[in-house]
């Protein structure tokens, strides 16, 4: 009676339950439920009547009640790094698209430092079917929460982040990326290399440093001699300005390198401008290689040579990894996939100046 009252006194109130809705249509609750769940054996007229009322009233059955009965939520929790770089955004968008086409929706939460455990807990309380992580968290942030997922065999996939023991992971082969860049630059005659933003100091850069070393050694060059870094003299507050500052520093350096590898495209473009401001020319005096192959590579003149992360391949691997766990027995060993990068050559690189 409370219900009838509220429905009558305010005709604009939304119907809140199948009971109210069934009364509205003049059918039994169970019949309505059967129509909503597309069960067979119903008269066409009944189905039609329910669907019309559904459109008219805008009634949405309470998902929590259905989920309480233990069905799959068909929902994925997505943790993204709170600093949304273009590659992260792209992965997020592609992941959501791919999962939606498979009938899953995504709850996206940004992980600010210190929040990962509560975010994971929130996802678990919503009984998501799986959890995806996007982006590299250098504070070692999500490890604790992830350990729990691994321990209990909760479906999950970690993109970009590496070094998480026993987690299902898909990562770009950053070491290989650096080797490819070195191969290419050595082929152009370069023998002295500058790193911009790629520092030993950062744990996340370990793989890239390794790749640079390995690439150089294969060409008989000694990393300790031919690689220079000036990062330590410049704070990295904002990427573009940081790249420009490091480049101006390099420009003034006697015997400066002729080829530069930057941590990302923004730093690389900042560096290009820093070099030009200092009277050097790109690529005639110095070559610059970015990382990520973002749209922004086309903004400077000349356009920026960069390394492509192959984001489509990464996301599609991640989706496979997730789906292979949902509703299936736990895999015996963690699933690990590595993605091969691609070097995209544009105008910012050329033969070494003699």
């Amino acid at each position: 009676m409370k219900r009838e009252l509220s429905t009558k006194s305010n005709p604009k109130a939304r119907l809140r339950s199948t009971a109210e809705f069934a009364r509205h249509v003049g059918l039994a609750r169970s019949t309505v439920s059967r129509v909503l769940n597309r069960q067979p054996g119903l008269r066409a007229g009944t189905i039609e009547k329910v669907e019309r009322a559904l459109r008219e009233t805008g009634f949405a059955p309470n998902a929590h009640a259905r989920l309480l009965r233990g069905e799959h939520s068909h929902t994925i929790g997505v943790c993204v790094k709170d600093f949304l770089t273009p590659p992260i955004v792209r992965k997020m968008a592609l992941l959501q698209q791919a999962m939606r086409s498979r009938g899953f929706s995504c709850i996206i939460e940004m992980l600010e430092p210190g929040t990962s455990e509560s975010v994971i807990q929130h996802f678990l309380s919503l009984r998501v079917d799986g959890i995806a992580f996007i982006g590299y968290y250098d504070q070692g942030e999500p490890e604790v929460g992830l350990a729990g997922l691994v321990h209990f065999g909760t479906p999950h996939v970690v993109m970009d982040q590496f070094g998480v023991p026993d987690a299902n992971t898909v990562t770009l082969d950053r070491s290989r990326a650096m080797e490819m860049a070195i191969d290419y630059l050595v082929g152009l005659g370069h023998r002295r290399f500058g790193l911009i933003g790629i520092s030993q100091r950062m744990l996340g850069e370990f793989d890239r440093i390794t790749g640079v070393r390995r690439g150089l050694q294969r060409h008989g060059l000694d990393p300790a001699v031919v690689v220079t870094s000036r990062d330590q003299y410049h704070p990295r507050i904002e990427d573009y300005a940081f790249g420009a500052a490091v480049a101006r520093d390099f420009a003034a350096l006697p015997g400066r390198p002729t080829a530069y590898l930057a941590l990302n495209d923004d730093i690389a473009i900042g560096a290009m401008h820093g070099f030009v401001e200092s009277g050097l020319q790109v690529p005639d005096s110095v070559s610059v290689v970015g990382f990520n192959n973002q749209d922004v590579c086309r903004m400077p003149n000349p356009e920026l040579t960069s390394i492509d992360q192959q984001i489509e391949a990464t996301v599609s691997s991640a989706v496979d990894i997730l789906l292979s766990q949902i509703g299936k027995p736990r895999p015996a060993a963690p699933i690990i996939r590595t993605i091969e990068p691609v070097l995209v050559v544009r105008g910012s690189t050329g033969p070494a100046a003699r």
Copy 2:
């Protein structure tokens, strides 16, 4: 007993209910519930015991069961346009951050064309406390679903999209933005203007066109005479290339404009490059103004003058609008807020060439 079996035979299975959890801790279900809900009158030892077990087992109480009891879900549904431009991403990130700090989480869904009604329905079935829309949908996409929200008084806020009757809205004053740009350029001596990507053809650009007209008329200039567009001769597949193509076209035009207003920063930067390729100089021969004031404005040389959307102000208005509806009686009239843009002058604009 089924429960005990599963718990015992597989010690790694996650506990699924407060009943299982209470048995695990050796307390009554109601006691556990009281601890979880921080109710008063519990012994410190009991609280401590429950919290330790919570950490050890990683138990997460089923949120659907709690939500079924009709409490606020403290969740906001966020609809974003599926094409994630930097301003949209920024709004999304700021909105989520602001809502989280107020105890709400966000479910983000990208609206592909034709999906808006089902996405809204999904949000409603999850009993979200409100729904936010981010981005301009030129197909008139979300109108139908929004009409339902308006009709039933469901808390909502629409950012960017305008022309939705009776919806609670916060929009940038795009007309004012164009007036500001015209004022500034006329002050620099410009008398002939080119529009790049701002076309009458697009409904969403109506306000900008109005602003350009109004600005010119105030300076005694006739829009029909002093404004030129070449958009119709170039398909807009990709913004940067589109801007470059239109600029090359303008460069070859006798009596070409000296100042250009672009739809967005990417188009503007493409245009700068198109002009330079055609032998013109920015800003000595032509001035270019972008829109959005994205980070990318700093990438070209000279840097791009642009119009800032004041995204922080927009989002904070949107949050106010949302919170003012949640748990409160329906406002008598739709809430409409307008945000004042800011012109950010950089190197791409200068005095008109004589």
